[in-house]
Structure formats: structure tokens, C-alpha cells
Symmetry: C2
């Protein structure tokens, strides 16, 4: 395909520019003392429901805010704003991921020093967001047990790029041909160092353990 080598080269420059903006963001986050968590996953794994829980539970003791990325609609921001936390939607149009400049623009006018935690929900996509550093301190992927046990093997670049894997919707396990042990083994195969926590954002199963883990991790970093 004649256009491809040029496309690869242009992409490299875009990624290089993104890395520079992300580096500056990371410094700003550190200076302001805000801990930034980014969330990636396929569409429909429960990122927004998890974020509702996070803003509620972490928001009880800490000052929290969220940015949410989508190709279209402001639905998630409207839904999350009910928590009372500052929330801003980033609408990406046809772009399949957030980049550091989008995050930088969305934060204009925000006082980062007034926050303890900032959550950034990416566009639902297991490919595009993997190469874009957003200056986050922690990247987590949500993997739903309805998705099939082979997903970490099929999307290794994404699963390798994360610090935490939340295995969500475990309340549905009895109704599926799925085994939590297989999910864990396949994550381990591509990313041996990731922390893996089984949760159900719907029933609340495993959520207290995950919140405690996040607080400990943020305090130590």
C-alpha cells in the first residue's frame, strides 16, 4: 500500500510530539500533587460505572475529578456530574483515542492543586490508546468476563501497557462459559507484572479491595 510508509513516519512524529506534551503534563501533575489514573478498555466493559463508584468512594475522603473521552455524545459527563465532582467531556469526533494535548486543553482553567485524584476515561478501544502517554501515574484496563478469555493475547500491546487489570462483571461468571483463572493466566502471559483484581462494578464485589489498593498505591508513589 503506497501510502503506508509515509503514514508510519507521520505517526512517529505525532507520537513524539505527544510524548513531549505528556512529559510536561506529568510534571504539572507532580507539582500540583494530584495522582492521575487513566482507564482504557473495549467499548462496554463498564468504565463509566466504575468511575461512578470511584468518584463516590474515593471522593468521600479525597478531592476527585474526571475527564471522559468519547467519539460522540456528552452522556458520560452528564452521568458522572451527578456525583458532584468536577467532570469534563472530551469529544474526539473520529479519533479513536485521547492524546496528551486533548487532556491539556480540557484542563484549562482547572486548579490541579485543589485535587488529590484525577481520573481520565479513554475512548473504548483496545488498540489506538495504547501508544499515547497522557502523563498518567497509573494506567488500568477494564476487561469484562463477557469478552472472552483470549483478549489479552489478541491485544498484547494494550495489556502490556497497563499497571492494573480490573476483571469486571464477575457477577456474570455463572451464566458464561468463562473461567476467571484463564483470564488471569492470559494476562500474566503478556504482562507478568500487572496487578489483577476481580470486581463487579454492578454488585460492588471486590470494589473495597480495589479502592484500598489504589489508595495505598497512590500514597506510596
Amino acid at each position: 500500500m503506497s501510502g503506508t510508509p509515509r503514514l508510519v513516519e507521520v505517526r512517529k512524529n505525532v507520537l513524539k510530539h505527544n510524548d513531549e506534551v505528556a512529559r510536561a503534563l506529568r510534571q504539572r501533575f507532580a507539582d500540583a500533587g494530584v495522582f492521575v489514573v487513566s482507564l482504557v478498555s473495549s467499548p462496554g466493559t463498564g468504565k463509566t460505572r466504575l468511575l461512578e463508584n470511584l468518584l463516590g468512594a474515593i471522593g468521600e475522603r479525597h478531592r476527585v475529578a474526571a475527564l471522559v473521552g468519547d467519539l460522540a455524545t456528552e452522556n458520560d459527563a452528564v452521568r458522572l456530574a451527578r456525583s458532584g465532582a468536577p467532570v469534563k467531556q472530551i469529544v474526539t469526533g473520529t479519533v479513536c483515542h485521547l492524546d496528551a494535548s486533548m487532556v491539556e486543553r480540557a484542563l484549562e482553567g482547572w486548579d490541579l492543586a485543589a485535587l488529590d485524584f484525577l481520573f481520565v476515561e479513554n475512548v473504548g478501544n483496545l488498540v489506538c490508546p495504547s501508544s499515547y502517554d497522557l502523563g498518567e501515574n497509573l494506567r488500568l484496563v477494564l476487561l469484562s468476563v463477557t469478552e472472552g478469555e483470549d483478549k489479552p493475547l489478541k491485544y498484547p500491546v494494550m495489556f502490556r501497557s497497563v499497571d492494573v487489570v480490573l476483571l469486571n462483571k464477575i457477577d456474570l461468571i455463572p451464566h458464561l462459559d468463562a473461567d476467571v483463572e484463564h483470564y488471569v493466566a492470559h494476562v500474566r502471559e503478556v504482562n507478568p507484572r500487572a496487578t489483577i483484581l476481580p470486581v463487579s462494578a454492578r454488585t460492588g464485589d471486590g470494589m473495597a479491595a480495589w479502592f484500598a489498593w489504589l489508595r495505598r498505591f497512590a500514597a506510596a508513589n
Copy 2:
């Protein structure tokens, strides 16, 4: 972001080239008398399970074959080859979609005139594949009822690009906070002309109606 306008321009050229290759492919498919169906969806909606069923059921009366796209692994091709139909894996590496040239290369050495149906499974992604014509006669999206009712609204470009929406995993409806009517209404909102069929590739619910629809549609086109 300084790199972006150039990236958009290069992408336009890539899409233009893709359209030319797709046009040639479509002519080849027509000349050979093969009906080509492409499958798109999020990761983990059941494309490969559906394809197993299609190769089995449509393969009883017609000559069928499949191409399957993934970033990594040959798992799907191995799994589908058990049907006895010709199957080839396209490994895309870091590319989040198939393009017409990949399909063209994968078909090298195949006698298209010996086929009635060719199924092409795209990479699991609700964004990237939408703009790439593969020369197919019919494009279908699989939407799992575990994904959340808002997905057609959040990924309108993809849902607008398809002819058929298979609403899969309806056997899980009793265990979810989900309503088939809401899914249908949200698809209708972005794509009023798409055919919507509820199915369960696991239990077989709705599959006979879908196979019959596909046979009728192919015979009429």
C-alpha cells in the same frame, strides 16, 4: 497538535487508495459470483462464535470460506478451520483494522469462483474499520447486550456504515440491567435503514431466522 493536519492529509490518500483496491475487489467478487459479508464489532462480542455457526449452517448447502483479522495470534483461524472450510488468518500487527490490500493479498491463490460465500472478520474495534471498504456486499456489526445500550450513539460512524446489526448474547438479558428495545431504538436513531436481528450465537436463539435472512438477501443481490 502540529502533526495532525498532515496526518489527516496522509490518511485521506490512504483511504483513496483503499477505495480503488476495494472497487477492484468488488468487481472480482461479482465476476466470481461470490457473496462477501464482513463482520465488525467491539472485541469479545462473539464474532468468531458466530462465524463458526455460519460456516456450519451456510456451509451445509453452500461453498463457504473465511478470512479473520487480528492484531496477534492465529487462534481464530485454527478454531474455524475445524469446520473444514478454507480459512486464512490476517495478522495486522499494530494496525487496528483490515484494509482492502490485506484482503487482496490473503486471497492470493484462492479460486473465488469455487465459493458462494466469503466471510471476512475484522479486528475487534468500533472505530478504525468503519472507513475501510473491503469490497464486501454486506457489512454487519455484532452488538453484544452486555456492552450497554448507548454504544450505537457513542460510535455512530460505525453503526451508520453497516447493513445489519446482530444483537448478540440475548440469553444474558435476564442477568443484566438491559432492554432489547433500548438497543433497537438507539440503532434506529443513527441508522434507520439497518436490519436488526436479536440472536444468541451460544444458545442458537434467532440463528435460523438470521441464516434465512442472509440467504434471501444474497439471492436477491
